[in-house]
Symmetry: C2
Subunit: 191 residues, 2 copies
DNA sequence: TCGCTTGTTGACCGCTGGTCGACAAGGTAC
DNA sequence: GTACCTTGTCGACCAGCGGTCAACAAGCGA
């Protein structure tokens, strides 16, 4: 007579749905403003079940990010056959293309990086790795001023992207030119 | 016989002490990691009294910032008698000098800006105002690319400062040169 | 010594992230 | 058809958070 109190789902299917829901919700609301209870309610399940699939709120958030991160990484992977300068220009272009599509969530991430310590750490690691990649492709010897220049330039790029997304009154090409010129200026020579 | 359960303090004296303690504690711990209960414990008073002096944790944090902000503002205020380019160079130098002294707290702020929405808003307002000040001093007409360039450059500066403070292997003069060259590059012409 | 002002407190609230033992859905074996 | 067993699922609970409030008491003036 009575309907079942809940419907059982395959583990992977449930997990997939929760990840998808998380991606949507975290893009819409700030991390702090979104409680696990609210997410569970939205998913139509109990909070305990959510914790059964993800050990913590941080881990849940990180898991929703990883999908996007992988997509991004594959899109901007530089072609090692190219010259360093060409690699940089190509990857930068691919990155800006990705930003045009998924930008709002990225902007939220850059602006609100502090909310989740683990996320901040990952972002700093990525910045660090990118900086070293660029430094390695530079002609001439590495030096502290150059290291600082490249790392600061990555901040410049984030700032440019945020302003670009906010106003949307520049073309991708203009942003690319702007960003590359800033790097040349910071390095004190053409790149 | 028995000693008093607590000692009454003048309102301003108590407030002054709490502000001083807050400045110290917030410089040492992250905003989220520092509970009002812990602060009250550290101050040797009840949590309720802390809330008697400051309406909220955010307001308390903002109040501890304001002192430093005022000191900073007065130190980097540009001399209007100077040419715009000189104003920028002088203020930048003063800013870097301030960073050398109070830098660690500033770095924590830039990195962890998201923790307190109100703080993030203020920081964005300051960036906005600074950008407009610089844009107004620029020869030639304003344009979207220039606006983006200046705003992104402010991010560059924060990035350079964080790297500088982290490694401390550049002189203030080197940082200044680096930062100014980045601006020239981003604007596409000497400034 | 009394009284009054007001600085100060302990107890409380709703909500958060997180945990745990117990229930029940639904495929399987007879 | 029913008994069983695996395991997906839930309700109830916890400590800690930011924040509130009525009531106590320190210590000055009369």
């Amino acid at each position: 007579m009575s309907e079942p109190a809940y419907t059982r789902l395959d583990v992977e299917e449930r997990r997939r749905r929760l990840l998808e829901l998380g991606t949507t919700l975290f893009a819409r609301h700030d991390y702090d403003a979104l409680s696990m209870a609210a997410i569970a309610r939205e998913a139509g399940i109990s909070k305990a079940l959510l914790y059964h699939y993800f050990p913590s709120k941080q881990a849940y958030f990180m898991a929703t990010l990883e999908q996007k991160a992988e997509e991004l990484a594959s899109r901007i992977a530089p072609d090692p056959a190219l010259a360093p300068a060409e690699q940089l220009a190509t990857s930068l272009d691919a990155f800006l293309g990705w930003v045009e599509e998924n930008g709002d969530a990225y902007a939220k991430l850059v602006r609100g990086a502090a909310a989740v310590p683990e996320v901040r750490e990952v972002m700093e690691e990525v910045r660090e790795a990118t900086a070293e990649l660029i430094l390695a492709g530079l002609p001439g010897a590495p030096s502290p001023p150059r290291r600082t220049a490249v790392r600061a330039w990555l901040w410049f790029m984030d700032g440019a992207i945020i302003d670009w997304l906010e106003h949307r009154d520049l073309t991708r090409q203009e942003v690319k030119t702007l960003v590359l010129r800033a790097l040349e200026g910071a390095l004190g020579e053409p790149f």
